[in-house]
C-alpha cells in the first residue's frame, strides 16, 4: 500500500517535470500554452493526491486554485492575448533546442544531487517532491532565459510558480492565508504583465524583448 502511494506521487511529479521539458522543447506558442495548461492540471492532481495521502483537506483548495486559475483561466486569457497580438504562429529561441535540452538535463541532475545531499533523513515523499519542485523551478527559469518572446517568458514564470506550489505541498502544505495571497499575487502579476505586453507592443511593434535592450529612453 505504502509503495503504491509513493509510486503515484512519483508518477505525477515526474510527469510535471516531463511537461516542463516538453515546454522547453516546444517552439510554437499556442502549443506551449496548451502544455502549460497540462502542467497546471498535473500540478492540481499531484496536490490533490498529497491532500489525500496526508489527509489534509486544505490542500484540496490549493488543487482547486491550481485547476481553475492556472489550468483554465490563465491559458485561455493568454490564448486570447496571443491571437490579438497576432503572434500565435511561432516563437524564436535564443539557443538551439539540443543545447537547451542538455542544459535542462544538467539543471535537473543538479537539483537531484542537491536534494539527495541536504535531506538525507526526511521522509521519502517530501524529499522526492522537493527534488522535483526544485527541478521544475530551475526549468522555469531556463525557459525564461532561453526565450525572447514576452509571452513565453510569462509562461516560464508561471511554470516556475507551479514548482514552488509543488514544493510547498511536499512540505505538508502552507498556511491558507499564504496560499490565497500567492494565488492572487500571481493573478495580479498576470494582469500587470498582460497590460505590459500591449504597452511593449504599442511602443516597439514587437513583443521580442531583445528590442528593450537597445532602448535608451524617450528622446526629447
Amino acid at each position: 500500500m505504502d509503495k503504491i502511494v509513493f509510486d503515484i506521487a512519483h508518477l505525477l511529479a515526474g510527469s510535471i517535470l516531463l511537461v516542463s521539458f516538453m515546454m522547453l522543447y516546444q517552439d510554437r506558442l499556442s502549443a506551449l500554452l496548451n502544455l502549460f495548461a497540462l502542467h497546471a492540471v498535473l500540478l492540481a492532481l499531484s496536490v490533490a493526491w498529497q491532500a489525500h495521502v496526508h489527509a489534509a483537506p486544505h490542500l484540496y483548495v490549493t488543487a482547486m486554485i491550481a485547476l481553475f486559475f492556472k489550468a483554465l483561466f490563465i491559458p485561455l486569457a493568454l490564448h486570447r492575448i496571443v491571437v490579438r497580438l497576432n503572434i500565435h504562429r511561432q516563437i524564436e529561441t535564443v539557443v538551439g533546442v539540443g543545447l537547451t535540452m542538455m542544459l535542462g538535463m544538467g539543471l535537473a541532475a543538479l537539483a537531484m544531487l542537491l536534494m539527495v545531499r541536504i535531506t538525507p533523513d526526511s521522509d521519502l515523499l517530501g524529499r522526492e517532491d522537493l527534488g522535483f519542485a526544485l527541478a521544475t523551478v530551475m526549468l522555469g527559469l531556463l525557459l525564461m532565459v532561453t526565450r525572447r518572446n514576452a509571452v513565453s517568458q510569462v509562461i516560464g514564470f508561471m511554470s516556475l510558480e507551479n514548482g514552488t506550489i509543488l514544493a510547498a505541498t511536499g512540505a505538508k502544505g502552507m498556511p491558507m492565508v499564504v496560499e490565497i495571497s500567492v494565488a492572487f499575487s500571481i493573478l495580479i502579476a498576470f494582469i500587470v504583465i498582460g497590460v505590459f505586453l500591449f504597452r511593449i507592443r504599442e511602443r516597439f511593434d514587437t513583443v521580442d524583448l531583445q528590442a528593450l535592450d537597445q532602448f535608451r529612453g524617450e528622446q526629447g
Partner: protein
C-alpha cells in the same frame, strides 16, 4: 530434460521469427492500405516477392568488391541472431544467458555498419547519401537506445532479457514514470531504426527522402531478398523487444507445461497484431519529416531515456 526443452524452444524461436517476419511486414502494409481505403496486396505478398527475388539472377556493378557480395549475408546473420535472442513466447531459451540487451544492440549496430559500407561500396551518389544519413540517424539513435537500456536495467537489476521480462511481469515493478519514458524512447528509436514514416518512408523510391532504400539501391536478386528479410526481421525484433520488456505477460517460463507454451505463443501473436495495428495507424496519421529535423526527433528519445534514468535517482 530441461536442457532439451530449452534447446527445442530456442530452435523453434529461431524458425518462428524467420517465418513470421515477412508476414508482419505484409500485415502492416495491408493495414496501411486499408486505412487509406485501398485494397492493398495480400499479407502473403512479401513471401512471394522474396521467392521471386531469390530465383532471379544477381546483377553486380562492375566495380563492386567482395564486401558488396558478402555484406547481405553478414547483415542477415547478425539480425537473425539478434532476433532469435529476444524472448518471444517463452523465456527459457538455451542462449538466454547471452540474450543481453547490450549484446543485441551491438549485433544490430554491426549489421548497420555493414549495410552502410555496402551502400558506399559501389560509389554511386545515392548509396553515399543513404549511408551518410543512416550514420547521422544512428549517431543519435544508438545513445538513445542505450539510455533506455540503462533505465530498464537499473529498474530490473539486470540487462539480461529473460530476467528483465520476469521482473517486469512481477507485481514488484510498481508504477514508475521512468518505464513509461523508456517505452516512448524505444518507440521513437524503433521508428527511426526501421525506416518507418516520420523518419524514412519504406514504400517510396523518391530520391530526396530515402535512407534505407538508397543504401540497397544497387542490390538485386538473392542479395536483395536476403536484405529484405533482414529488414523484416529487424522490425519483428523491435516489436518483440517492446513486447518482451514492457508487456511480458503470458510468456512461458522455463519448465512450463505444453499448454503454457501454446498460451504464450497465442499471446505473442496478439501482441504483434496490436503493435502492428498501432504502427500502421501512426504511420497513416503522420507526415514524413525533413531529414534535418530527424536528429531533433530522435534526440527527443535520447532526452527521454536520459530523463528516465535521472528520475530513478529521485
Amino acid at each position: 530434460m530441461a536442457l532439451v526443452v530449452d534447446l527445442l524452444t530456442q530452435g523453434l524461436q529461431l524458425i518462428l521469427v524467420l517465418a513470421l517476419a515477412p508476414l508482419l511486414t505484409g500485415f502492416v502494409r495491408k493495414v496501411k492500405a486499408r486505412l487509406l481505403r485501398r485494397q492493398g496486396p495480400s499479407v502473403w505478398q512479401p513471401y512471394r516477392d522474396l521467392l521471386r527475388l531469390a530465383r532471379k539472377e544477381v546483377v553486380l556493378a562492375e566495380n563492386a568488391s567482395w564486401l558488396f557480395r558478402t555484406a547481405p549475408y553478414l547483415i542477415f546473420a547478425a539480425t537473425w541472431a539478434a532476433a532469435a535472442l529476444v524472448p518471444t513466447f517463452a523465456s527459457g531459451l538455451i542462449f538466454s544467458w547471452t540474450a543481453d540487451l547490450i549484446a543485441i544492440i551491438a549485433l544490430l549496430g554491426s549489421a548497420r555498419f555493414f549495410l552502410a559500407l555496402a551502400g558506399m561500396d559501389v560509389g554511386t551518389a545515392f548509396g553515399g547519401i543513404g549511408s551518410s544519413r543512416e550514420a547521422m540517424i544512428a549517431s543519435v539513435a544508438e545513445p538513445a537506445i542505450l539510455m533506455m537500456v540503462f533505465t530498464v536495467a537499473l529498474v530490473a537489476g539486470s540487462s539480461q532479457l529473460s530476467t528483465v521480462a520476469r521482473f517486469m511481469g512481477s507485481p514488484e515493478v510498481g508504477l514508475r514514470v521512468s518505464i513509461g519514458l523508456a517505452l516512448f524512447a524505444l518507440f521513437i528509436v524503433a521508428l527511426a531504426e526501421n525506416a518507418r514514416i516520420p523518419v524514412d518512408n519504406p514504400a517510396t523510391h523518391l530520391e530526396l527522402t530515402m535512407v534505407h532504400e538508397a543504401m540497397v539501391l544497387e542490390y538485386s536478386g538473392r542479395h536483395l531478398a536476403v536484405i529484405e528479410v533482414a529488414s523484416s526481421l529487424k522490425l519483428l525484433l523491435y516489436v518483440s523487444l517492446i513486447g518482451c520488456i514492457f508487456v511480458p505477460w503470458g510468456m512461458a517460463a522455463s519448465g512450463a507445461g505444453i499448454a503454457d507454451y501454446a498460451l504464450g505463443l497465442a499471446l505473442y501473436l496478439a501482441k504483434i497484431v496490436v503493435l502492428a495495428l498501432g504502427l500502421a495507424l501512426f504511420e497513416s496519421a503522420i507526415a514524413k519529416m525533413r531529414v534535418f529535423r530527424v536528429p531533433q526527433f530522435v534526440g527527443a528519445a535520447l532526452m527521454l531515456g536520459l530523463l528516465g534514468t535521472l528520475l530513478l535517482f529521485f
